[in-house]
């Protein structure tokens, strides 16, 4: 009986972890392909085709993680779903419009007449940018617990700039890994440009978060936790510096072309851990814990059965598809 009760209490934690991991995978994976989308307007027509081909086999599976994450929010934490999405009403709409434009542009650009291709390419760029900026704003609002006051929108606006920069850097790192020759050269250049604003944004956000959120401040600046926690910003810093250093080496064009991308994933994972530490056990910081927001235990169990069947399958096919499409993107036509 006791074990049952504790399992029931653990259910929301299980779903929180599932949701968090879905969101993390979404941000990392859609991050690089949104980044590639935002770099499109800087490329020649031939390069655009290669860039699209490089993300072609993945981007749509990447986006389904968002559906899974929001789906879990909706079905496992219905009370939070309403609260969070109500607060983020406008940016959610803009993000959805961006993602829709982008999704259909991807498809239409190869099926439409040649004369319309440029229009769809522009929409692809515009949709990617709109979605990224909206996500940055939403992240900013979410971290600060939807606070009101002059400083909160400024904080959110800063993240709305920084997150797209991080995506662009991811996108460039992806292209360094997946392409060769002239395009790779340009991707290196793009990465160098995006690095500074991305790091600047990250530093600013790290300093501002404790300032706008007393909850976060208390958690981070308490002894002895601060000593253990210091590992997160330190490792992030080292990874970012390593990325910058690599961009100037010859090796990054050849044998370690994958390293900047992997290091950036690490940065995202570290950032996610920091965020998780700041927020848990809240779903909405300072307002709603996961236990308050969760559906009833019987309902969660029903969903858990489905999740246990599908999540391994999803992970399996993701691994499989990255393995199948590993290596440089050649003339693969995505149509």
């Amino acid at each position: 009986m006791n074990a049952m009760a504790s399992f029931d209490a653990a259910l929301p934690v299980i779903f929180m972890v599932l949701m968090g991991v879905s969101m993390l995978v979404y941000v990392v994976s859609d991050g690089y392909d949104l980044g590639v989308g935002m770099l499109m307007h800087r490329a020649t027509d031939a390069e655009k085709d290669v860039m699209v081909a490089s993300i072609g086999p993945f981007w749509d599976a990447n986006e389904t993680w968002l559906v899974l994450g929001v789906g879990i929010l909706l079905v496992a934490f219905p009370k939070a779903h309403g609260l969070v999405l109500g607060e983020l009403y406008l940016p959610v709409t803009l993000m959805l419009i961006g993602l829709t434009l982008r999704g259909v542009a991807f498809d239409f650009r190869v099926k439409a007449r040649d004369s319309h291709k440029r229009t769809w390419d522009r929409l692809f760029f515009a949709g990617s940018t709109l979605a990224s900026v909206a996500q940055g704003w939403m992240l900013g609002r979410y971290i600060s617990g939807f606070g009101t006051g002059w400083n909160y929108p400024v904080f959110a606006a800063a993240i709305a700039v920084a997150l797209p920069m991080a995506y662009v850097l991811m996108g460039a790192a992806w292209l360094i890994m997946k392409t060769e020759g002239e395009l790779q050269e340009r991707a290196l250049q793009w990465a160098r440009i995006a690095w500074a604003p991305m790091v600047g944004g990250m530093v600013l956000i790290s300093m501002a978060t404790p300032w706008v959120s007393p909850e976060v401040r208390e958690r981070w600046f308490a002894l002895p936790e601060i000593i253990a926690l210091a590992a997160i910003p330190l490792m992030t810093g080292v990874a970012l510096l390593a990325v910058r250093g690599l961009l100037n080496t010859r090796m990054v064009r050849g044998p370690v072309c994958w390293l900047p991308f992997v290091l950036l994933i690490m940065v995202f994972v570290l950032g996610f851990l920091g965020l998780a530490y700041s927020i848990f056990p809240y779903v909405v910081i300072g307002q709603l814990t996961i236990w308050q927001a969760a559906s009833s235990a019987p309902a969660l169990k029903v969903i858990l059965v489905g999740a246990c069947i599908s999540v391994p399958a999803i992970v399996g096919y993701t691994v499989f598809s990255y393995r199948v499409f590993r290596g440089k993107t050649g003339e693969l036509r995505y149509a």
Partner: protein, 469 residues
């Protein structure tokens, strides 16, 4: 306008846009399986030209499926957000019932994306014929299963059953009773048939267009025959199922029927109104044209059967005006589809299935009816969804009680954005279908180039990739 009506309009805009695409992809999946099977079967028999026609049809319509599926996915993502943005109270109140059903819908769609669609779209020639046929089957089965879950939820909202309410929050007492609630079997059958008919007219329409333009000869004749036969056979079935659905609605949601038929006062031997303008303010109809006893006859199968009127449900019935006309639009479109498909099938058979010999006026009529299924389906959904008002869960939870508190100006602005986007996308979708129909060889050539260029080691591409391809 107040936030409630704007939130409803916005959600309506989104589900209207969304349903267009699943309506096609549910049945198209099965049709692809059929084309695929015909090709395999006839090729075995040694009729090369005929087999090639089926293969062309399969490959062309796979492209249509991919495009349609992609639009269904992007509009579906929006829906998963709008449950929360527009109706935050809905999941708070009935999340324990709706959550798992929606969850299974998402997971089913996910599972489908996980493997089979990618193999179906890109794996042809890379995996064995049997595996490929199996993948096509799984895609068709998966889309149907998705429809199963979502219609179970929708039907539960219409005719809730199997739940118990504790402290205002819904809990599930019996999942079987929740899923197989009273209206579910009828709605599910009605929707699957609607999907089949929508597809049938899409096949007929695009093939007619190809014949008019003189392209795609190998496949158009076969596809048109499939479409006409399917439509001619299924429309009568749909009429019977629709009638049963209506009787079921009369039993469980009498106010909906009263609004559909424009009946204000409870009466025996209610007339069937061919035309009227129901006036909700005056609580009467203007300009009635009626067939005496018709409504009673249709709905109760007795000339003097009793139909309860809207006045029995004051303050708890839907607005009759949109219901009345949406219902007639659906039925009218169904009748037109019946006439067109029967006439078309008979004439087509007389030409010995040579579409070029059909009267051009008929081909133009078919081309004009390419999306007639959309009109009937959307009109039908308006009847059923507006007909549930003012409740979101019929008789138990009012829509007004769960609406979001977002300012109405904000909802109005985003509504305008969504509508502009959706209209543009519908235009683009139809334009691309037309372009593809006119240039089928180019469309198929792209596919060949793409397959030739797939990197070594790519045995299958297990992503929905193709969903957007």
């Amino acid at each position: 306008m107040d936030a409630l009506i704007l939130a409803r309009m916005q959600f309506a805009a989104n589900i209207t846009f969304h349903i267009l695409f699943p309506t096609i992809s549910i049945a198209l999946g099965w049709l692809l399986l059929f084309f695929r099977w015909r090709w395999l079967h006839i090729r075995g028999g040694g009729d090369g030209a005929s087999a090639q026609g089926w293969l062309d049809a399969y490959r062309f319509w796979t492209k249509v499926f991919a495009l349609t599926f992609a639009l269904g996915v992007v509009s579906g993502i929006t829906m998963s957000f709008q449950f929360g943005t527009n109706w935050p109270g809905f999941m708070e109140r009935v999340g324990n019932v709706a959550g798992p059903l929606l969850g299974y819908e998402v997971l089913t769609a996910f599972f489908l994306e996980a493997g089979f669609l990618g193999v179906m779209l890109f794996g042809h020639g890379k995996v064995g014929e049997r595996v490929h046929l199996m993948s096509t089957f799984m895609v068709a089965f998966g889309t149907t299963l998705s429809a199963f879950w979502i219609l179970a939820l929708n039907s539960w909202m219409q005719t809730p059953a199997g739940h118990e309410i504790v402290d205002g929050e819904f809990h599930v007492a019996s999942w079987l009773a929740v899923i197989f609630n009273p209206s579910f079997p009828y709605r599910f059958a009605h929707m699957l048939l609607a999907s089949a008919l929508t597809c049938a007219f899409l096949l007929i329409g695009l093939s007619s267009w190809q014949v008019l333009r003189g392209v795609g000869q190998r496949s158009a004749a076969r596809v048109m025959r499939v479409g006409l036969t399917l439509a001619a056979v299924l429309i009568p079935v749909q009429i019977v199922v629709g009638d049963m659905h209506g009787l079921n609605t009369l039993e469980h949601q009498p106010a909906k029927i009263a609004a559909m038929e424009g009946v204000w006062d409870t009466e025996r031997g209610a007339p069937l109104l061919l035309f009227a303008i129901p006036d909700a303010a005056a609580r009467r109809n203007h300009f009635e044209i009626a067939i005496p006893n018709g409504a009673s006859l249709i709905l109760t199968h007795k000339a003097d059967g009793e139909i309860r009127g809207l006045n029995d449900f004051q303050g708890a019935h839907p607005p009759p005006l949109p219901m009345f006309f949406a219902f007639r639009l659906m039925v009218g479109m169904g009748m037109l589809m019946l006439a067109a498909s029967w006439l078309g099938w008979w004439l087509y058979r007389r030409t010995k299935w040579q579409p070029a010999l059909l009267p051009r006026a008929l081909l133009w009529l078919f081309a004009g009816m390419t999306f007639s299924g959309w009109v009937a389906t959307v009109a039908g959904w308006y009847v059923t969804e507006i007909g549930r008002q003012p409740y979101i869960v019929y008789g138990l939870v009012r829509t007004a009680d769960v609406v979001s508190k977002v300012p109405s100006a904000m909802i109005g602005l985003t509504l305008a954005l969504y509508v502009a986007l959706y209209l543009a996308l519908i235009v683009a979708y139809v334009a691309v279908l037309k372009y593809m129909a006119e240039k089928p060889d180019e469309v198929l050539a792209t596919e060949a180039a793409e397959q030739a260029a797939t990197p070594p080691g790519a045995i299958t591409s297990p992503i929905v990739e193709g969903g957007r391809a």
